[in-house]
Symmetry: C2
Subunit: 395 residues, 2 copies
């Protein structure tokens, strides 16, 4: 059992829960009265228990636990009771609006087992707030984020044997929310399904914590202003796989997404991006692109900004960065490190960027760049309970 | 029974079937040897038959016929045999890549019953070619479009009683292709499902053939260069519903999608757009935006271009149009008509555009603008078999 950790004052990038109440009104529901309640959860236990997998060399997100959470919504009846049931296939109408029009969104969270045996989540209310923002953009109904978090806590508690006894593995939590409108008009769905599945995971990349190589080309654009790049909606991801395949064909692991005529640096694959350098004005700076509508507001991104601002050791900026800035800084030996951040990978150093036929090599100091390594340790120490923090939420 | 109508020489906007063979190679399959074959189709008949609905006031795509087509693919075993089975829910793994990452695409076609009782499709190989192009962009496997068309023909033949006896109704055909990868890595799916469902439909808009009102605002952007706007992928549609709701709140029926600093006119809701006017040079012109990567290559769009070019009565252009162009032309009384085109609506006149707080009224001559009406008649006469044409394909 646990209560929701109070969000620090700096948690302002996600919309407030109050703001999201607007959609409830739009959907003709009273505010939080209309949400499902965790206390109503109906639990149907699995008859047997599956064997736990060996996490060494296990591909990300391929094995699932014994149970899942499902919550149905209809425009006529509102939210139904949450159900925890055995992990099983979903029965989906062939005209389902998630399959035809990508009325869908997801979140990514992890449950970590500490050396003390306790299971913790990391800043989960930020995921709930971002999920509500995505739901509004996807024209899906709103709900009380604290109630969903409590449902997720119950689910993880039930399947807690699946949280690995390891400080390099965790239980990945995938809340998913899809429109299940059973008709072909392109419109706000009258039915929806929120479900949560759990998957024990090791490292996201098959290369482990080694620096990743990136392909940067303006041919494919991940997101644009007026689109959905700042929400965790399915359409952002499916559209990226084609470019990702081209990156692999060119000998790179991930895509570095560029934007605009000036080839702004935006994100990496499915991660936010940080550049640690001596900037144009000679200042030591950790920089990441600002949340201007095309950047996913990552929770690891936000945590890195907050941690490093608290350190006060160098300038920390949300600012635009272009490939020309990077290339010039590399020529002038001003780049210290570059790394991606995300729930799946935590912190992942960048070693090489293929851009306009040229390989740009980023300093990595024997695969362990100091700032990325320090941030990885500070974050995982909080996540695994080595460092007490109000960012953790006990299951 | 019927053979595929030879594609006219002007059918060049869709990629050739040969070009799509590239992905077969990418997926490690031999060219067309790897496609499913219509001759292998296994048919499981429905036990009963559902009652046919009254099409008056029936919402678009809400009722489905007795049977559906499903074809499964795995990277290990390639395409399985096509199955025609009773219309029923799909059993979908909760980690399915279509539900999480919108690895999905669709097509829209119609079967029309002529006064002669025969059932016809309209230029269906163009749908097959566009579907193959979408599949490549979505990282889904390729197949032989002629084989899928023959499977669809079999399905429509089986459910032919559902093709309405009416020249204002038809049987809407929805081929859908989704990734069914049962794991959470963002990657090319190792499993996929192609399915086709059929729905008897009347008019797409609840207002029937009356002119539609549009909301034009650069706040939301449908598609951008380097994205997926020229493919019929689900993500393009789910992202549009939010803007559509805002249009309705502002008293308009659809969104007029703008692009760029100069507010280029691109598409309307889920339709391509045409402007019939006296252009800046005093020429009578039918204009529609060019296929530059952000425009869906509509089959009705292509057919209207081909028909009007054959008439030779006025200039027919694929060119950029901005809101400033339109506003000036309206002030100078140079706009004759504006209309949307698409499979669902065929031709749909535009009556009003709300732009920057101002209502722009488009001439509609008592709801029946002459060019839109003439095109609607020419197209439906072909579709319903009143005019013989190599654009029709007999079921």
């Amino acid at each position: 059992m646990a209560s929701v950790a109070a969000a620090p004052a700096s948690d302002t990038s996600a919309p407030s829960l109050k703001a999201s109440a607007k959609d409830c009104a739009t959907n003709g529901m009273a505010e939080w009265d209309a949400s499902f309640k965790a206390a109503d959860t109906v639990i149907e236990l699995a008859v047997g228990r599956k064997a736990k997998p060996d996490l060494t060399n296990l591909a990300f997100g391929t094995v699932f636990t014994d149970h899942m959470l499902t919550i149905e919504w209809t425009s006529d009846e509102g939210w139904q009771k949450p159900h925890i049931c055995p992990f099983r296939n979903l029965s989906i109408h062939p005209a389902c609006s998630a399959l035809h029009y990508a009325v869908e969104l997801f979140e990514g969270m992890k449950a970590y087992r500490g050396a003390d045996g306790a299971v913790r989540l990391f800043r989960p209310m930020l995921n709930m707030k971002r999920m509500l923002k995505s739901a509004e953009r996807a024209s899906l109904p709103s709900f009380d984020g604290a109630e969903l978090l409590e449902c997720i806590r119950k689910l993880v508690e039930l399947d807690q044997d699946w949280v690995p006894q390891s400080d390099s593995a965790s239980l990945y939590i995938r809340p998913t929310f899809v429109g299940t409108e059973p008709s072909l008009g392109v419109k706000k769905p009258s039915r929806a399904l929120l479900f949560v599945i759990l998957s024990p995971v090791g490292s996201y990349f098959s290369t482990g914590a080694k620096p990743v190589s990136l392909w940067a080309d303006p041919k494919y654009i991940r997101a644009w202003r007026g689109g959905t790049g700042d929400c965790k909606m399915g359409g952002n991801y499916g559209a990226s796989i084609y470019a990702q395949s081209e990156a692999v064909e060119l000998g790179c692991q991930q895509v570095l997404w560029l934007y605009g005529e000036d080839h702004q640096i935006t994100e990496v694959g499915t991660m936010n991006l940080f550049l640690y350098w001596i900037n144009e004005d000679g200042e030591e700076e950790l920089a990441t692109p600002p949340l201007d509508g095309i950047i996913l507001p990552g929770i690891t991104r936000q945590s890195i900004l907050e941690l490093t601002r608290k350190w006060g050791e160098f300038k920390v900026s949300e600012r635009y960065l272009t490939m020309a800035d990077l290339r010039r800084a590399l020529k002038e030996d001003r780049v210290k490190e570059m790394f991606g951040s995300g729930t799946a990978c935590v912190v992942s150093p960048v070693g090489r960027i293929l851009y306009q036929g040229e390989n740009l090599f980023i300093p990595c100091l024997g695969d362990h760049p100091p700032l990325a390594s320090r941030l990885l340790k500070e974050l995982t120490d909080i996540q695994y309970g080595q460092t007490p923090s109000d960012w953790t939420y006990l299951v």
